[in-house]
Amino acid sequence: MTENGSPLVELLDRARGGDQAARDELFDKCRNYLAIMARVQVESWLRVKVDASDLVQQTMLDAYRGLSNFRGNSEGEWLAWLKQILKHNATDFVRQYRGTEKRQQRREVSMHATAPNLSETFTREPSSGGESPSELVIQREREIQLADCITKLAADHQEVIILRSLQRLPFDEVAERMGRSRPAVQMLWARAVSKLKDVYGELP
């Protein structure tokens, strides 16, 4: 069932087979992706800049421990699973940050409870027709690479890309958050994307 034998899936299979090196490589590969996702998520909730490295650490640790619960076998499922754990931890993170424990429990999803459900969800595809799985795989790969590239940018470039392109905020709000004028933020964004293109183009 491994689709297209993509490198990440291969790594995943080896990691689940108990290959320690593959495990490390797998998590290494996804670290930057998680870091960017964590920032996007937490900052969009809290509307301020925060240091999300603890959250990333916690998420990696949980995923590392819970690897045997992961039942999917595609990149999409893997990233979705990581994001789910991230989200679970992010709620806690935000709660702590706010110092409130009143948040209601309903949105919390146990990782263990959902794991089997997850595979069931993905193995059945009754109404699917002609979508090409390889296209999706390429897209996932690109997402991971792009996240890598974003972390290599200068801090203000990172921030403007996260706010504008990933959180999809209007420029006025981006300007307000970054404490700059709107035209300045627009130029900054254009430069940041251009720079991102350069970094992305330099990938092997």
Partner: protein
Amino acid sequence: MSDGNKPAPDAPPESSDETEFAALDAYNEALRSGDVRLQAELRRKNPGLVEILACLEGLDSLAGTPTVIFDGADSSGIALDAAVHSPTDFPRAFGKYELKAEVGRGGMGVVYKAWQEDLNRPVALKMILSSHLASHEDVRRFYDEARAAGSLRHRHIVGVHEVGQVHGQHYFAMDFVQGPSLAEVLAKDVFPAEEAAKFMIATARAIDYLHQHGIVHRDLKPGNILIDDEGQPLVTDFGLAKVFNTDEQLTRTGTIVGTPSYMAPEQAAGNASVVTAASDVYSLGAILYEMLTGRPPFKEVNPLDTLVQVLEGEPTLPSKFNRSIPRELELICLRCLEKRAEKRYATAAALADDLERYLRRDPVEARPVGLPFRLRRWARREPALVSRLGALLLTVLVVQIKYNYDGYDWPYHLRVMSLLAIWGLTSFVYQWMLNQDWLAEVTRFAWSATDATVLTILLLFVDSPGGPLLIGYPMVIAAAGMFFRVRLIVFTTLYTLAAFGILAWTRPAEFQPVQYGVIYAVVLAVLGFVIGYQVYRVRVLSRYYESQR
């Protein structure tokens, strides 16, 4: 920022930076609204920015699909963002429904299993992937689909309860069917003949019901037929259904919609205006074919080849796969698969009637076709064999007439005739090998090589090999071109040149002066190159087409 293709910060900074920003921003908006046409236009207008635009696309997919906006009674600041959404955030509230799980994705929608709170029942919710990403045309198609389906109730059709939107997210609610789909069942095993017939009767009746209400399904395939607990079919996904009297608006672009393997030829040709109930009858036949044989009538590795087969090819007879398939059922199946719509069953009901006749052991309406038609079908099914046999037959005829007229010596005539007969026999063997999937690739090479070899032997026999029979070599190369494989053409050309070389070397007297032979060889090489190049171009187009899907 001083590197790359951007101008130095000081030179003409503002203006060019601003135009670049404007282009990027416009593209970003186009990505978000899902306006594919605008995206393509912007890409065309800004050829220098192609890489950056690709980067924006990547960022957009990284940001994720901003789908469902949650009911946020408690969302004091937690605006659940696009990035939070993943296919696994279940359960979650959506209007009066609670989403339980994602069960599938189709061309334009995601299907969720959900619980309807007020009526306490499970439903399937079909949503457009994202209201932001869907163009107006998608939305209209979605509502057309829902409205068309909403008025219908039938034992073998998945009923639609409601259409609506929550926070700009369009959806409709249908009966929830656990499945599996016919496609999943067929992945495991074929159906026994009688069960296939019964299943197809129910399906055809359901389709006939749709037709009577002015709806052509247009995308019938095993994936769109669900199977309930009693093993009965439930037709779903009228995603491409078109109401007869409000047509034209949606299909003007002439894009091919549907799955090539189950598509009627008129549909595959992109001729939307002639897609009628008869096209659904064709699809039903294609599904019946797969239920009996385990494979659709036409399925090639790439979609272009499949399309060509749908338009021009003839399906392998079902009984070739499985001898136990009854003749009547095969006839019924083939009648549905007729290329010309008017030769198929006039209605889905007529198909169901004929299937019932088969079950009752009454004579079926589908008749075997006459000899000329059978010959034509054979030619479409096995063109390589039929074209060779045709050419050989003609040669035999000419040789025989000449013999009767001139009165050659008998042994010579016998030699030529038996060689031609052997050639004909090898063609049958090769055609058989070509039909075996695992031999097909080698067979094409072997066949071309054999043609060239036998031709050379023949030429060595005859008195004057320098005569008109030399036309045989270019024909061997041209025949190899029919298989659409560049490597095969290169191989055949080289092989033919070598064969001709041997011939010229053995009978030098025939090729005087020398330059005649050289010119002939050069022409062979040029011919091979031209045919090979044409095939190469067709292949490139085919890959392009495939990448566009």
